[in-house]
Symmetry: T
Subunit: 67 residues, 12 copies
């Protein structure tokens, strides 16, 4: 019952969607973090170039269990 989680804040980026941006951040984090349990979206923004959205950016907090 006395487990502890740590949250780290990441910015994922995708040309397709906010969900894809979240996935990119989680996939990258999975290379160094184990025991990831949930994420929370804190901000959504993106880049515009020549009048078109070219990047969706999702700022997320990822929580993982501390051993």
């Amino acid at each position: 019952m006395d487990r502890v989680y740590k949250k780290v804040e990441l910015v994922g980026i995708s040309a397709k969607s906010f969900e894809d941006a979240v996935n990119n951040a989680v996939e990258k984090a999975s290379k160094t973090l184990h025991g990831m349990a949930w994420f929370e979206v804190s901000e959504q923004h993106g880049r515009i170039s020549e009048g078109k959205v070219v990047e969706y950016q999702a700022v997320i907090k990822v929580a993982f269990k501390v051993d």
Copy 2:
């Protein structure tokens, strides 16, 4: 002009997208609520398992007309 709306807070969940999570919550609510007029997203989070996003969770407020 003197109509009144009530808002209820729901958490919809989907393996596919935040939009789908919203739809699941609205669909479930439609079984008992009539006159739903709009929704507002208050939070977006999700569940991660084995390094992958397995659930998108949308916390929404749904407003419906009070008879």
Copy 3:
């Protein structure tokens, strides 16, 4: 280094997704604004009709360079 940006707030609407709502707002803005550089999502809501989501609405701030 001393460039200045202006932000305007827009509400984009789409029957498909929040990303599409953002795109609709940016596309409309591109007809009169030049030098758009980024957007920020401030609110997400939508319209429900007969128990189904019929519109996704994204409130965004669009930043563009002031000449």
Copy 4:
């Protein structure tokens, strides 16, 4: 000392004022809720038609005692 209150969120609407919008919501709620003790205004907005304010809308939380 161990009484419990529940809060419900309502949107009252009036052509006259925000106070009247609050009253409309409370009056409607009084038909089904008993023991209402206080309200809190969370948002104030309204509708404009042909360049004039035609509706004041007050989003309130109403608290009532749970038996």
Copy 5:
């Protein structure tokens, strides 16, 4: 379905009430903006002189349809 709205932020002022302050801002805006659809109150403050409230100030966002 793919209409777009723009929001502008205004400060209305009145010696009488917050509602009157909102109306003053909307009335002024109606001279240059068409298709205004709704407003949202973001702040309420005022000026005091010689121990009395002499001005009610309402900061509102006004949304209008972009052609």
Copy 6:
């Protein structure tokens, strides 16, 4: 140019309106504070009794010049 203001937080109450609640707080404060310059509304709530609004409560910050 180097004047300093202090803000105090007050709760005004009225059976009539939020504006009247603000006025009651400012009038009471004027008995001990001099040089009041502006107020800001931070919260609006009220009391309900027997299904009717019986009190409007305005939480305000009042700023006055420090000698």
Copy 7:
């Protein structure tokens, strides 16, 4: 995966502690709600009488599974 939760807002009160106030609200809710899964504290306040804290009040949101 497509389960839906509903959140209701409650105010629990206790003479002892905020935890006890949370428990009182949850215990009362358990008489009519089934499938409660988690709670979130949104506000903490209390009542003072004759210079002493006589009540701890916890405003919480309780989430339960919608069948």
Copy 8:
């Protein structure tokens, strides 16, 4: 009905608990303030020394009736 309250912000500190920190602040305030009616917790933090929590700090607003 036209009573007025004033709120002051205090930081209470305790080695035991947040409730005790609230009590310490209220007790201290009771020496100079009369007619205290309620408190609201605005922040909770604390001090850590040699890897252990040694102080719980509760920032509260205390409201008292203005004569």
Copy 9:
């Protein structure tokens, strides 16, 4: 008494300080806006290059009188 102000949101940038970033935005705005009366800082951020802060960015709202 019934004057109306409009607020626009700008991002000023400077290599020196946040104050300088505010000044750059106000100076640029002064070329097209008349009657500017006050500004409010909403965000402060900046750019880092090769381990050093190279830009201070101030997001401000500028209010000006509407004729």
Copy 10:
């Protein structure tokens, strides 16, 4: 005077109280972090099972000195 602190975000969990949840997080962190100086509570929530609170969860930021 030019020391620097870093903040990390942790979720502590306890069956007993929010204070105990904070302590569990700090104790776990003390195994890898040195120079912890203070914590700030950002969220409080918990888990409910069979109608009873079974876990208090405190989300805290812990600040420690960077060498």
Copy 11:
């Protein structure tokens, strides 16, 4: 360990910088308050005249020990 602090809210003003505005408020407060320990910036704004920033205004909370 059971010391208590009080916070008061001040608005400092300076023609030079936000830091100077903070200093002006603290200096003025030091004439009547003893044991001031820290300050927190809650808002930053300023006055514009003839297209130039003529005042930086810092709203701060100042905490001092209550004897």
Copy 12:
């Protein structure tokens, strides 16, 4: 396009200004972090001693590219 950033939260301190406090935090971070791209100010506070501001403290988030 699919790069990922991580944000860490730091508290920089300076006897001179908030900008200097930001710089101190960034300079310290540059010893262990590479690819820092931007910072965001989340809080500004400071320490007072003998009636004078002796420290400016800037809480910032620093974002850097994850390889």
